[in-house]
């Protein structure tokens, strides 16, 4: 069974600084996707960034980038130039890509990020 672990329940960062959120996962699959979702205080989850396991290049979306270490099963999220609007719960998630009709997401426990002015 796949598991996702986020070891940092809470983090804090000053506005304009950089912060890295950690995520590790466990799977025996070789083909899968990894995601970071953001859940602001309004509680609607929004996809921040995704990474296909077969791609060696780390995904980047504006101020958000990942450090994907497949051998170590690590998938950290770096937020550069942190903004107040980045304050949210961040969930790391895993999805097996076996082409089935399910593609369920398996979530970690989340990291609550607070951006301080």
């Amino acid at each position: 069974a796949q598991t996702v672990t986020q070891s940092q329940p809470e983090m804090s960062v000053q506005e304009a600084e950089t912060v890295t959120l950690s995520c590790t996962y466990d799977t025996s699959e070789s083909n899968y996707y990894l995601f970071w979702y953001k859940q602001p205080p309004s509680r609607q989850m929004i996809l921040v960034i995704r990474q296909e396991a077969y791609k060696q290049q780390n995904a980047t979306e504006n101020r958000f980038s990942v450090n994907f270490q497949k051998a170590a099963k690590s998938f950290s999220l770096k937020i550069s130039d942190s903004q107040l609007g980045d304050t949210a719960m961040y969930f790391c998630a895993f999805m097996t890509n076996y082409g089935g009709a399910t593609n369920k997401l398996i979530f970690g426990t989340g990291t609550l990020l607070a951006v301080q002015p």
């Binding site: 609607q44 995704r50 296909e52 089935g100």
Partner: protein
């Protein structure tokens, strides 16, 4: 931009009562999901639905739960006889067809409180 909507935003019910949580997925999406998040805990998969049938369900999704797509636009989750431990935030999600990968778009959630 199209989005997933859910109603109601908050539902309070008495233990043993039936509740129906409603979701309107994005119109061209074919895959539908329910997840729940007990306060302070991780988001957990409940069930996935495709082609008018359940494609996978978790251990949480026991006989008290059912899902339906009654009219081609709504996607509902019914809990037949609610328990205190059903109190949680319930999220609906939808995604487009396979094969490559499908981003799941989440609704804002329904907070269910069972008294």
């Amino acid at each position: 931009e199209p989005e997933v909507t859910q109603t109601p935003s908050h539902q309070v019910t008495q233990m043993g009562q039936e509740v129906i949580l409603r979701c309107v997925p994005i119109s061209n999406h074919l895959y539908f999901y329910w997840y729940r998040q007990i306060l302070g805990q991780k988001v957990e998969f409940l069930v996935s639905f495709y082609n008018n049938e359940i494609s996978e369900k978790s251990e949480i999704f026991d006989d008290q739960f059912s899902v339906e797509r009654p009219d081609g636009s709504n996607f509902t989750l019914k809990i037949r006889s609610t328990k205190l431990e059903d109190s949680a935030m319930y999220f609906c999600a939808s995604s487009e067809a396979l094969p490559s990968y499908n981003e799941q778009f989440f609704g804002p959630g329904t907070r269910l409180t069972v008294l």
